[in-house]
């Protein structure tokens, strides 16, 4: 790979104002729900009141007659209705699941499962019409947690689902709610446990939690008379929306244009499609553009949170070494297979060099919403379990928990549980940064106070990106990209282009365009955009440099290898009178061969994994059970911080989501499978008053797989907080909490022996 010859950056590492900033602080930026079109009508979705029910009939006739209603759709309106898809292997099964989650066909599998949709003159009329749709249900007993769902006699969500063992490809004889089983193993576990000085075994549970993005899902669609479709939506991946919608509507991909609106948060939750095909079908039937919005309750009940989990961990230590770990992880997939248990099982041991291990992973269907990705999906719950057990082992053996982490740390060459060795990573460096931090060096004093630490890992992604950079005649550059900007990537990409071209950041204007206007870009997810689209931006910049060198060589009548591009200038190696700035050559583009455009479409390999180590101080109120976060420090290997403020922001945001997960957030269900806290009042996310300033320590171990050393930074900060806080509470109270959330009720009950 090409690398930049000078590591003394001019733009990278500075903190300029983001290009989309002014329109976002003035209220002018247009998010998905802000779109208005001539003739626009409004769609709403009818959802199942039952967690598990067979749908016997759906009668929409009264709703269709309701004044102001333009169209009503159900699963029968899909060109390939879910109940008509034959079982023709995995892709057909996946398509049936995808269709069934968008609009249920034969069964409602969770409360909030979409059943039908109405488009009407305004949202109120659409809601009135929803009340006139008559659905006959045969209510079935729900299965609401993994352990119940795994029982032999559990009610089945899908009588045709069998357990697939991923290592062998074998399929179970009897149907089951367990969709997959997988195992990772290494070394000699029995011998390692036999020789261990200390062993701790614990069971942990976590509840389903939501990403909690402030903007509800939305989609606006216009189905033209010629069959072309335009969709305006808030999504982490416009191309994914286009391709999935084409798949479920049996439409050619090129006939669908997706316009990515500004997105109000996602954290993985805006990767799936829910409303887009529904809005398209309503538009087809009504002949009008249709905007469909979810309410907050629908977001909780009908989108994709992350799994509740049950995890058992047994770990053994010999001397100061972690020598043996056995773990079983069972994750709720929700109504259809696909929990992040794989990622949980593959990340949990990554901070450690441990030779003997066995990990069992179960993906389990339950009558809850189909889970979606949530920031380092699968890793936080797994880290909660292993990092709690390690803390307990350290306490038992009188070891300093950070020194222990340093002595057992993974480094370049350490094998992951998959057997793949790590490239250059910054695991040790984050632990060392924590040890040297002012926080760790300060005392923790006072009654009911404690300190905890925990580490975490996330892979980070690469995948596909396309960009085009057009050089204008005044030397400014339009950077055309297709990656959703969910938190500052216009800035981080423009900065990388400015660095590559040696021109000021302010002279680059980045724009995120629709799917007709740029090559394929995979989703903004997996912490990949600044890394992978950054790689594309770098290559496009190098493309421009090569073209400019060729033109300067031609102008000066010399071979190309005598011309050098440096700091935004071209000069001759042999003739010191020959020099052109980027601006001067850009002005001559028409005379030197036409417009200058740099392009890159690539599959980015070499994503660098990210490690984090966190320290937290808490105070526990023994009377109310309230846990106060007194101080928090997060260290993280960020590769190279392109825009340090937005890197810090990612870490601070991830930590606070982790604090919410640890202390308050949970999907609270009644026995019939109804979520009883589906509002922001009752699903209690942290407010500004609940958290202190979050101190960050950016450790920069450049990723060898990127010319500027970029690593994804967005996900790993949510991995350590759950365990770090549990460890701090254990330090403060002597009580080891193994069930999340550690809410005031649970804490006060535990401290008073009332569990």
């Amino acid at each position: 790979m090409t690398t930049v010859e000078r590591p003394e950056y001019k733009v990278i590492g500075t903190r300029p104002v983001r290009p989309d900033g002014a329109e976002k602080v003035t209220g002018k930026a247009l998010y998905g729900a802000d779109i208005h079109l001539p003739g626009l009508i409004h769609g709403r979705v009818l959802r199942s009141p039952h967690a598990h029910a067979r749908i016997l009939s759906i009668d929409t006739s009264e709703a269709e007659k309701h004044p102001g209603v333009f169209a009503v759709v159900t699963a029968r309106d899909f060109p390939a209705a879910a109940d008509k898809v034959e079982d023709l292997g995995e892709s057909a099964v996946n398509l049936k699941d995808a269709l069934d989650n968008i609009l249920a066909s034969d069964k409602a599998l969770y409360r909030g499962h979409a059943i039908a949709a109405v488009a009407a003159v305004n949202p109120h009329v659409a809601e009135e019409a929803l009340a006139k749709i008559r659905v006959q249900y045969e209510v079935l007993p729900p299965v609401l947690n993994v352990r119940d769902a795994m029982r032999e006699d559990a009610p089945l969500l899908n009588e045709k689902r069998f357990t697939k063992t991923l290592m062998t490809g074998a399929t179970s004889e009897k149907p089951s709610n367990i969709a997959t089983y997988n195992r990772f193993q290494g070394g000699d576990l029995a011998a390692a446990f036999a020789e261990a000085d200390a062993v701790v075994e614990r069971e942990f549970t976590t509840q389903m939690v939501h990403q909690g993005y402030i903007e509800p899902h939305n989609s606006t669609a216009n189905w033209n008379a010629d069959g072309t479709i335009t969709i305006w939506t808030s999504t982490q991946g416009a191309f994914a929306v286009r391709n999935l919608t084409a798949d479920v509507l049996k439409h050619p991909i090129a006939s669908i244009k997706v316009v990515p609106m500004e997105i109000g948060g996602g954290f993985g939750g805006k990767l799936p499609i829910y409303l887009d095909p529904v809005a398209a079908l309503l538009s087809k039937k009504s002949g009008r553009p249709v905007k469909v919005l979810m309410s907050r309750t629908e977001v909780f009940e009908g989108s994709g949170p992350t799994s509740g989990t049950w995890i058992k961990v047994k770990a053994g230590m010999k001397g100061n070494r972690l020598t043996a770990v056995e773990a079983t992880l069972a994750y709720e997939a929700g109504a259809f297979p696909g929990s992040p248990v794989g990622a949980g099982s593959m990340t949990m041991l990554s901070p450690y060099n441990v030779e003997n291990f066995e990990i069992h992973a179960y993906d389990v269907c339950v009558n809850k919403p189909k889970v979606a990705a949530y920031r380092a999906p699968g890793a936080p719950a797994a880290a909660f379990a292993i990092e709690s057990v390690i803390d307990e082992l350290c306490k038992k053996q009188g070891l300093d928990p950070l020194q222990f982490r340093l002595e057992n740390s993974s480094r370049e060459g350490t094998r992951m549980v998959t057997g793949v060795p790590f490239p250059r990573i910054g695991a040790e460096e984050t632990v060392r940064a924590a040890i040297e931090s002012p926080h760790w060096k300060s005392p923790i004093e006072g009654p009911n106070r404690g300190r905890g630490v925990a580490s975490g890992y996330w892979f980070n992604g690469g995948m596909q990106s396309s960009v085009v950079a057009n050089v204008n005649t005044d030397g400014t550059v339009n950077l055309v990209e297709g990656s959703t900007d969910i938190g500052g990537t216009r800035a981080s990409l423009a900065m990388q282009l400015a660095e590559t071209l040696g021109i000021p950041y302010e002279e680059i204007k980045p724009t995120v365009v629709d799917t007709d206007s740029i090559g394929h870009n995979d989703v903004t997810g997996g912490s990949r955009t600044t890394f992978a689209s950054g790689l594309a931006v770098f290559e496009a910049g190098m493309d421009i440099r090569r073209q400019m060198i060729a033109r300067a060589a031609k102008l000066w009548g010399m071979p190309e290898d005598e011309v050098v591009y440096e700091h935004g200038k071209l000069h001759s190696l042999k003739d010191s009178t020959k020099e052109l700035t980027f601006k001067e050559l850009a002005a001559q583009s028409a005379r030197t061969g036409g417009p200058i455009a740099g392009k890159a479409s690539l599959l980015a390999r070499g994503a660098g994994g990210a490690f984090a180590t966190h320290i937290v101080d808490v105070e526990v109120d023994p009377d109310t059970g309230k846990v106060t976060i007194l101080r928090y420090t997060a260290t993280q290997d960020v590769g190279t911080a392109i825009h340090p403020s937005y890197v810090e922001g990612q870490i601070q945001g991830g930590v606070v989501q982790g604090i919410g997960w640890a202390l308050n957030e949970e999907y609270y269900y009644d026995e019939e499978g109804r979520m009883v806290n589906s509002s922001f009042l009752d699903y209690r996310m942290p407010t500004a008053l609940d958290v202190p300033m979050i101190d960050t320590i950016l450790v920069e171990v450049p990723n060898p797989g990127h010319p500027y050393g970029v690593r994804g930074v967005g996900e790993v900060p949510i991995v350590p907080p759950l365990a770090a806080i549990a460890n701090a509470i254990a330090d403060a109270t002597g009580h080891r909490f193994t069930d999340l959330p550690m809410s005031p009720r649970r804490v006060v009950e535990a401290l008073n022996g009332l569990e």
Binding site: R18, T26, Y213, G265, E648
Partner: protein, 160 residues
């Protein structure tokens, strides 16, 4: 449903609109008037993304009926900047990188503007208390609090 004629002052200008009595101020601002800076995050007063000023007080516009604004003074995020001159809070949010996705930002700025109009020199706890009706899921609030502190300093320096 019959529509009602309402006259109000919106961002300093006499404005009139027609609305159904059941429509919230948020719905009318967004769908009838076309000012989409106030956002709908929950539509029941829990997230603050729709915060606007009504007669100088910060309110969640999803919890105010549009007909209630008759004869009153409404200020939205669109009325905060002076032409292309940003309000110190808007500028501070940019300088401090106090937004990521930005959907909560208009609500935070309107709440913070109300705070600084009432209390020009709030301490960190006071800022956190005042902003606790606004939810942000991206930033962890750290940089938002710093932005409000920065704007407070700037506003005070401008006055002295």
């Amino acid at each position: 449903m019959p529509r009602v004629h309402v006259t109000t002052r919106l961002n300093g200008e006499e404005t009139d609109f027609l609305c159904e009595p059941r429509q919230s101020l948020l719905e009318v601002l967004r769908d009838e008037i076309g000012l989409t800076g106030a956002k709908e995050g929950c539509n029941n007063g829990n997230c603050g993304a729709c915060a606007v000023h009504l007669d100088g007080r910060v309110v969640n516009s999803c919890c105010v009926l549009a007909v209630e604004t008759a004869g009153r003074e409404v200020r939205t995020i669109e009325g905060l900047a002076n032409g292309d001159h940003l309000h110190p809070l808007q500028d501070a949010f940019l300088q401090e990188a106090a937004l990521q996705c930005g959907i909560c930002t208009p609500g935070f700025i309107m709440s913070a503007a109300s705070l600084l109009e009432n209390e020009p020199n709030p301490d960190e706890h006071r800022i956190r208390f005042w902003l606790s009706g606004n939810l942000c899921r991206c930033t962890g609030y750290d940089k938002i609090v710093r932005a409000v502190q920065r704007a407070a300093t700037q506003l005070q320096e401008a006055q002295s």
